[in-house]
Symmetry: C2
Subunit: 324 residues, 2 copies
Amino acid sequence: MRDVAVEAGVAPMTVSYTYTRPERVAAATRATVLEAAERLGYRGPDPVARSLRNGSTGNLGVVLGEHLSYAFEDPQASRFLAGVSQVCVENRLGLVLIPATGAPDDSDRVREAAVDGFVVWTTVDGDPVLDAVAATGRPAAIQGGPGRDGIVTVSPNDRDAARAIASHALADASSPLVVSLPFDRNRAGGLLRGPETSADYPVTRSRLEGFRDAIEETGRRWADIPVAVVPRNDRREGERVVRDALEQVRPDVVITMSDQLAAGVRDAVGEAIPVTGWDDSDLAESMGFASIRQSLYDQGVACAQIAAGLRTTVEPPVWSLTRR
Amino acid sequence: MRDVAVEAGVAPMTVSYTYTRPERVAAATRATVLEAAERLGYRGPDPVARSLRNGSTGNLGVVLGEHLSYAFEDPQASRFLAGVSQVCVENRLGLVLIPATGAPDDSDRVREAAVDGFVVWTTVDGDPVLDAVAATGRPAAIQGGPGRDGIVTVSPNDRDAARAIASHALADASSPLVVSLPFDRNRAGGLLRGPETSADYPVTRSRLEGFRDAIEETGRRWADIPVAVVPRNDRREGERVVRDALEQVRPDVVITMSDQLAAGVRDAVGEAIPVTGWDDSDLAESMGFASIRQSLYDQGVACAQIAAGLRTTVEPPVWSLTRR
DNA sequence: CCGTCGATGTGTATCGTTACACACATGCGC
DNA sequence: GCGCATGTGTGTAACGATACACATCGACGG
């Protein structure tokens, strides 16, 4: 920039203003400057230097508690990210993806990220990456929890929603099979019996609690309920885990934690056993099973607005039960 | 950092080395420095200042020629991005998403991105965003074209592949229906007759050319061939467009440009009319239609490596025909 | 003809870091 | 006791940009 200033015969500040506040500089001068820049192949202010001087990067960091490719494959994460990206586009913010796989250098990644704020996709309790995020002192929001000081939690009341849909499922049935998202980072799959509802993922935990609430309300004992856990939120995993489970149990309804899983169940059992999903996506509509409607897109928007400093609090996201 | 140096009673450089090259500084001094940092709440070197000084940001920019949410919904884009993100993770690079929707400020976004290199997801011919990318002078790669000076093109020979699969499809059939990806940014859908193979998207164009090659080889006139164009690479769009087309034409084979579309065709016509896909995904295997195998994941890896400066050229990605 | 105002250009200081070259001490072999 | 390698600490000088306050000048009302 200094060179351009010399070439154009003006002060560096004039060049700076030419780019950042064109109206502040006379049209003639502006032309001279741009011409000089053209001659020298100068492309405009360096974004990094600008960030340093201004103290803001114009970037939002999105922490994904999974291998990055997960973000592109899980439909729920996708919807959420779509909401985040919408805010970024509207506000001309960059979107920086930060993987947090549970490795020790996750925190470094966060510390070294050149961003103004963080959006965190739900992770496990006590994830140290949350400490790293909070330590930056920058605005941050997390979808689905866990809650933490310094990070705004954006999460619907999953427990209530889970209870509602489970009650609905149990209206005409008596022996449910629960299909659950992973409990923890190990992501061990398998069939359990009325497990402690102590999953490390708060989202999984709240839903389990809600299911248990509903089941106990009907007089059944949670300890007797089969719970099949998938290693991934994936339709085929849902199909597989249910096939396996059916070798040991004979449920008359299957209660799942996502539409993908519910679709997988349908793949396995057809209409023979009713199933419920979660998220009320196209799948739920086209295959015709009950689901919980909650907008992950809207939650993405909310999180991004917080991270961008556009707001500091949000109403808890709403949910509703779509009966089918 | 200066403050920490004072607090610890050492030179700023010592503090810097404490973080970036700990082995360069005596253990005792290091401890003193870290202690002082702790007292002052210093979290380590500022990434932005570091980038400025070092001249590199540790970020890769990915230009998506679509609304960002598209990246999270199109399975092909997802696979590609998964490959890109793999390279980022391995090399500790950040991943910055840059939307390019065709709006005039796309170029600004590129110019203002604090990244070391660019990966571009296939876009239309003459997209000005490519000029902006090339103008940065940073390493860049584009998947699927269009080709351009200063940007490495990573693309299989789509035309040959298209000819191969179309020939395969025409072995036992005589009147094909082609289902095509969008021609241009307008994304108008609809049914055409042997259109000029002049789509703005080079990927669409090459495949059309290949289909035409194969069709003309069997003695049919391209001008007579019905081509249904979808506005989006989406299973349901595939279903819809074929339903519509079947009101006007009676094909005995459907040749599509993606497995999603092929699956949509199956949804519409079942096994009544054979169909071919593209990408050889799980869908192709489970539904049992022929497809072109090419790894978008690997292409993502290749593009990212180029953008990261890890290599400067790539072999053309391989493709193969999976007959079913 | 003076005072004031708006429009426009310019110096200064600083954002937080690090490459580089150098200073100095220590220890070791001979 | 000399020469030399090694291990540690320290100035200097940028990296590229901009906030802020100030200087200058012509215009214009009274």
